[in-house]
């Protein structure tokens, strides 16, 4: 395996792979059947949604159950704008910004509370979103939903609709993925990781957990808006059902199963979101929810890093066979980015300086006095 890693590390190999991927992305839509293109497009839509969730949850460690809400808002804004003949660029911008603003407002409040407050607050979003969408029927079409056809392939391209839509998804999703990749590999990404690992440590380093949580959440909602726009491009119809509680959980599960804190994992997560229901339905349609729950739990127990961590796990097993010790932390906990530090569970041994010990120690839980 060492030779393989060395091979992939060579710059020209990397460029070749990127080139190959680009070529595939251009060529595949032209040769695949319509159904495959549509499936790929939907995978792209939800890969973007999962990517957004990853920013706030996988990379920054804040559980959010509201991502699908932002996707829904983006879709509804798109539908409304298109049906009112607004400029498509304006529609796109609004579809991204409006969820972003909502996300910002929510984060400004929710991130003030520590611990799992963001999770506890965002769980309400789908449950509020659905009746709200039904209520605001002039904007949303109520329970019937809203359809918008605007993604038919223009004449000059000579493409079929499904190909055109897939290209749009590839282009926009590709840009979003690239931007996000740069974000998480840069200094913001490092800050997110520190906030995720240990907020006390982050503040002591001058990194405000609050600000970065707000930032991460807002970015997640912006990306959610993009996903919503793409959703309308591909599905051309949205309804309150789009942002249901069940979908919210499936999206979260998709992120974990694909691989939290991983760009590639987001793609896998999108694939899971689209393909898994079809597969589980094929097994037994009434068992769908059960199977999805089981899969999520199995992944959390056995492969916490998600599907994307399979090669890593395999490599580690090989190294163990060769006599090299596995890393002390073993398989990381779920929703842990590969760069996140694992906090030791033990009190530091004798090597700690004997400062006066306050009543609360690291082994005790904090108490409200």
């Amino acid at each position: 395996m060492a030779t393989a890693t060395q091979f992939f590390a060579k710059p020209w190999v990397r460029w070749a792979i990127i080139g190959l991927v680009v070529v595939l992305m251009i060529v595949l839509p032209l040769i695949l059947p319509a159904f495959a293109n549509q499936t790929l497009a939907r995978i792209g839509v939800f890969a973007v949604a999962v990517l957004g969730l990853n920013v706030v949850m996988g990379y920054t460690g804040q559980v959010s159950l509201g991502q699908i809400f932002f996707v829904g808002v983006g879709a509804y804004v798109t539908a409304y704008g298109v049906n009112n003949d607004w400029n498509i660029a304006l529609v796109f911008i609004l579809a991204v910004l409006i969820p972003g603003v909502i996300g910002l407002l929510i984060a400004l409040a929710a991130a003030r509370l520590g611990g799992l407050a963001i999770a506890m607050v965002t769980i309400a979003l789908p449950l509020i979103g659905v009746p709200l969408a039904k209520r605001l029927s002039e904007f949303t079409g109520g329970s019937q939903g809203s359809s918008a056809r605007f993604s038919a392939a223009p004449e000059w391209t000579g493409l079929y609709d499904d190909q055109w839509q897939l290209y749009i998804v590839i282009a926009i999703a590709g840009i979003v993925f690239l931007l996000t990749r740069n974000l998480v590999h840069g200094k913001y990404g490092r800050a997110f990781a520190i906030v995720k690992g240990n907020e006390a440590v982050a503040s002591s380093m001058g990194i405000s957990p609050y600000r970065y949580k707000v930032l991460a959440f807002t970015i997640a909602s912006l990306i959610g808006g993009v996903s919503g726009f793409l959703y309308m491009v591909v599905v051309q119809y949205t309804s309150p059902e789009t942002m249901s509680f069940g979908h919210s959980i499936t999206l979260l599960a998709s992120m974990v199963i694909g691989g939290a804190g991983s760009i590639l994992g987001s793609l896998l997560g999108g694939a899971y979101y689209v393909l898994a229901p079809q597969l589980t339905n094929a097994v037994d349609s009434s068992l769908t929810a059960v199977l999805q729950g089981v899969i999520l739990l199995v992944i959390l127990f056995v492969l916490p890093g998600g599907l994307v961590s399979l090669p890593r796990l395999w490599r580690r097993r090989k190294n163990e066979h060769r006599g090299m010790p596995a890393g002390g932390a073993g398989s990381a906990q779920a929703a842990t980015a590969t760069i996140a530090p694992t906090a030791p569970a033990y009190v530091v041994p004798d090597t700690s300086a004997p400062e006066p010990i306050p009543p609360t120690q690291s082994q005790e839980k904090r108490q409200d006095t």
């Binding site: 004798d350 005790e364 108490q367």
Partner: protein, 236 residues
Amino acid sequence: MTLLELTEVTAFYGPVQVLEGVSLSVPDEGAVGILGANGAGKTTTLRAISGTVRAGGKIVFDGKDIRGMRPDKVAALGIAHVPEGRGTLAGLTVRENLKVGAYLRKDRKGIDADIEYCLDLFPNLKERIKSHGSALSGGEQQMLAVARAVMAKPRLMLLDEASLGLAPSTAKNVYQAIGRLRKESGIAMLVVEQNANLAFTLVDTATVLETGRNVLTGTSAELKGMDEIRRAYLGG
């Protein structure tokens, strides 16, 4: 009769080895000190005994091999660990703390009598009997920790850095009370202390640890007389 015997005990925090081979023995009703600098492995040795850290080697208590036993099982055998940091049960009152110490006992009268004994041993606690554990000062929390251990009617008490963070006079008080406890109850003690002077007021013999193994063992008198000990731990 040997109550506790450690033979070439090793201990690990994850992949890091902290004890390389520690051996000592505590006679019935005896008191043994574990001295050494920071990081030598003193606290870890106690943790190995009470089962809170993964350990290798042999640990025999009252004829039973207790290495690897869960902490609550070790406690049930009659070993009370007074941890570094005192382990105060913060939201509970002093009385409740003491009652938790007596958790494994069923004799109501005996428990009540022992609570009175502890309050007599540590008069400060008597005043604070209704206060919550978190409201006590460092010294009082240390007393409470020892009292909690006493409530279990143990045969062996593991004392981890009882003087840590306490003003010298408070630490002296605590050790005096523990000395009285030892005389009146016959509980054996294994005392980890950085303050060797204090330790010598309590223990008959001691062993000195350095980077995870014993480097010196002897009676208090012998050790006090040694130049190295005097220089390193007794201030010249």
